[in-house]
Amino acid sequence: MKVTNSKYLDDRHDLLRNLISILESDFPYVSILGTDVKGKLFQVTTTGISVNDSRWSERGFVLRVHDGTGYFEFSFNEIDSESLNGIVEFVRKKVAVFRKAMIQNNLEVAKTPIPDEKEWKLSFKDEVKMLPGVLSAEEILGRLSNLKDEAHSLSEEVINVMTLMENVQVSKLFISSKKDLFQSYIWSQGYLYVVARRGKKTKYSMKGFSGLKGAEILDEMDEYVDKVVENARMLLFAERIDPGTYDVICSPDVAGLIAHEAFGHGVEMDMFVKERAKAIEYLGKQVASELVNMHDGAAGVREVSSYVFDDEGCEAKDTVIIDRGILVTGISDVISASILGTKPTGNGKRQSFERKAYARMTNTYFSPGKDDLQEMISSIDYGFLLEDYYSGMEDPKNWGIQCVIAYGREIVKGKLSGRIVSPVMMTGYVPTLLKSISMVSKDFRLSGTGACGKGHKELVKVSAGGPYIKAKARLG
């Protein structure tokens, strides 16, 4: 089913084009991004139900001007024919005030080249199997409630369950003197979350579902309830790991976390501009085992961060970051690319029209290899199969890793022993970890639940994943 257009953006298209024309008499470059993002979040827990607009909902505009030296932006969400001149005056005044503040503080404005855009007109509407409005709130809540009840029926140790589905329609309009772009697509995500308790010990397990999908994502959730309950109860037996360096196999989720946190953030090229990325010293050099190929791109695969153009009006790409262990390139927004003299890679993303665009990941993953998971387990004398994760944090400057992994299954003499350790903190130095990769499975799985921050803010949707990988890692 075809995703619908945005009347809100359609109705304002000519007004925005007019605003650009007026401002072009003052500024050599002017562009506007318009956003109309709407969605619903349905959630059922053991103790309550909610149906709310998605927190990703937003409607507004961000105007970007270049005054010949550098960029200035203005985010707003009110525009009509009467307020047009007020916006023009506000932007003129603010650019002057902003420049004056720099002089007062003896600070400089970075000189940034004016963007050289090519003519591009586009109108894109994606398709999903089932548009979100096809199912009523009653039907959706009924199905989520059934999943919650099923989880409780499986064990009295289950003390709380959360089931959730969120559908979000993203419509974006980008206009500049040479570009006139529109896209509309839908992403959805779902969660099954189970908390189990035995005595004083409490543990939880979670399974996420995501994709450029509509309400059909509910169908995928049905078959996983027993698995999530089983995992939560299994973790009640878990022990803490003895800190040390071990042979490990990372599941596609954990491999994706490593691709994203350990390496992806470090090749966001605004970090190159700030000299915050160790990666810049390693371009063209070996950073990983020859078995490793890594991509990022909104165009390469279909997941929650797949789109046709980014928030700066650049075409989505599929960027090869690591090719057979060699670091090839990073991913970039427009400003960083213009300072570095490279081409933008379609990775300029904003949390919303209210925020700045940064170089951000889209769908980041290791490519599949040729190995078989069972053979990978058999090849380990002592180690752990690491599955699911809670969180991760980047360290682009020093290539440190912080991955909080939900649990590890102990491997003894090529077999899973049944012993579980949880949680597991993976730390270390990125190239050491990536160079230690000795087997890569044929599997391939991406996951795009949750959100990614830059530092501790600027949340955007991304996905990450890959195959199972065998490596050596420091665990604690």
Partner: protein, 424 residues
């Protein structure tokens, strides 16, 4: 527009409503070293509407609700459609009944400032500290925001506020054994020149320490001291154990008059939720329901004496609501920081991220900057991790010195035994 939305809501047979109007203006500066990369300004108005629908089932009262957003310029037909869809959906939201915030009419307006002048002051304060030789500001983001919020509900509530907020994200670098960096977020109400420059100065010193740090050794059996942000994050675990929502959801297991701590030796926690902390980014006179916030001591000498929470979950567990508090304070401990550092220990001020799980009590983080003291010398270290569980500590000590840090006023340092240190 708020009256237009209220009028449309009154036309539907709903049991109640709440409208929150937010007006946000900001000035934002993004620096790479001492050059501004981008300037931004923001002027945004938005509305969050909650619609309530009461119903009964088997003699039990229920209150369904649904939240939706309205943006300026939305046509009347679209507003009516959003109301109707939410009204329909709320009928299937079968939650036990709870009250709305009672009728109050109050304005909380702060002194007015010119936003661009505040932003310029904040920028000036950041760059007043560039004297260190081997350490420097790598990149800085400054956001100064003015929020004007108003909340109305169908009970007759009408409260509003104006509030200034300052957010400074700093990345500082230093060269020593290798070039390293540290990350910091400073959150204030209006810019405070002294606090900003002192924080930046301290940060430049710390990153210099990291530049000369060696790899964290694999040490066992020494206490871990958390200082600054990590101490605050660990203590937030106890704040959440006294939260009405977590109690209702059975995530918090602590009962009134029982200890929030385990059997560990050492200091007992005294903790209060406080609506107003001087200079706090988070201080607010009312919460998202419009309920006027109250101060409350919830933990005294390690014993849970009360819960805190918003109006809904407080009603569910049968307590007076405090409002959804944003600030908390913790009483002083028995040792000075110097006394804590006398014996061999492992101290951490910066993790990549502090991971504290409010459900399980698990604690962990990769070390960006720490110090190992073996009894004779104190060396800066980096890498490796500290992990453990706050429910199974062997000892717990709080420092006598306290500090204001964002939403927290409490001990600067927290010393614990029972954590594992992973290193080389």
């Amino acid at each position: 527009m708020i009256e237009q939305i209220a009028r449309q809501l009154e036309r539907v047979a709903i049991s109640g409503w709440k409208i929150k109007e937010e007006n946000v203006e900001s000035e934002e500066y993004f620096f790479v070293k001492n050059k501004v990369d981008l300037g931004r300004s923001k002027k945004v108005r938005k509305y969050e509407v909650t619609l309530y629908k009461d119903f009964e089932d088997k003699n039990e009262k229920y209150r369904g609700s649904s939240v939706f957003y309205i943006s300026p310029g939305m046509e009347n037909a679209e507003i009516i459609q959003a109301i109707e869809e939410s009204f329909f959906a709320a009928g299937f939201v079968k939650n036990p009944w709870y009250p709305l915030a009672p009728a109050v009419s109050k304005r909380f307006y702060s002194e007015e400032y010119e936003l661009s002048e505040l932003a310029s002051e904040a920028v000036g304060a950041v760059f007043s500290q560039m004297k260190s030789i081997n350490s420097w500001l790598n990149s800085i983001e400054v956001f100064v925001t003015r929020n004007r919020d108003r909340i109305l509900n169908s009970e007759g509530l009408d409260v509003s506020l104006s509030k200034y907020r300052t957010y400074i994200e700093s990345i500082v670098s230093s060269s020593g054994r290798e070039e390293v960096e540290l990350y910091d977020q400073l959150l204030l109400s209006v810019p405070d020149h002294d606090r900003i420059s002192m924080r930046i100065s301290r940060l430049l010193e710390m990153v210099g320490e990291r530049a000369n740090a060696t790899a964290t050794p694999a040490v066992k059996g020494v206490p871990v001291i958390l200082t600054g942000e990590p101490a605050k994050e660990a203590l937030k675990y106890y704040l959440m154990q006294s939260n009405a929502h977590l109690k209702y959801d059975k995530i918090s297991e602590v009962e009134l008059d029982n200890s929030v701590q385990s059997e560990e030796e050492g200091d007992r926690i005294t903790l209060e939720v406080v609506p107003e902390l001087e200079g706090s980014y988070y201080s607010l006179p009312f919460d998202n329901d419009g309920l006027l916030m109250k101060k409350r001591k919830v933990i005294e000498n390690g014993i849970l004496i009360s819960y805190w929470g918003d109006i809904r979950y407080s009603y569910y567990i049968g307590i007076e609501p405090t409002g959804a508090a944003m600030n908390f304070s913790v009483g002083e401990g028995s040792l000075t920081v110097e006394e804590m550092r006398k014996e061999p220990h492992f101290e951490v001020t910066h993790f990549s991220a502090v991971d504290v799980d409010e459900t399980t009590g698990d604690f962990g983080g990769e070390i960006r900057l720490g110090w190992y003291f073996d009894g004779s010398k104190r060396i800066p270290v980096t890498g490796g991790s500290v992990t453990g569980n706050l429910k199974s500590l062997d000892s717990f000590c709080l420092s006598r010195e306290r500090e204001l840090n964002g939403d927290y006023y409490g001990p600067v340092s927290l010393m614990m035994e029972g954590m594992k240190i992973s290193g080389e």
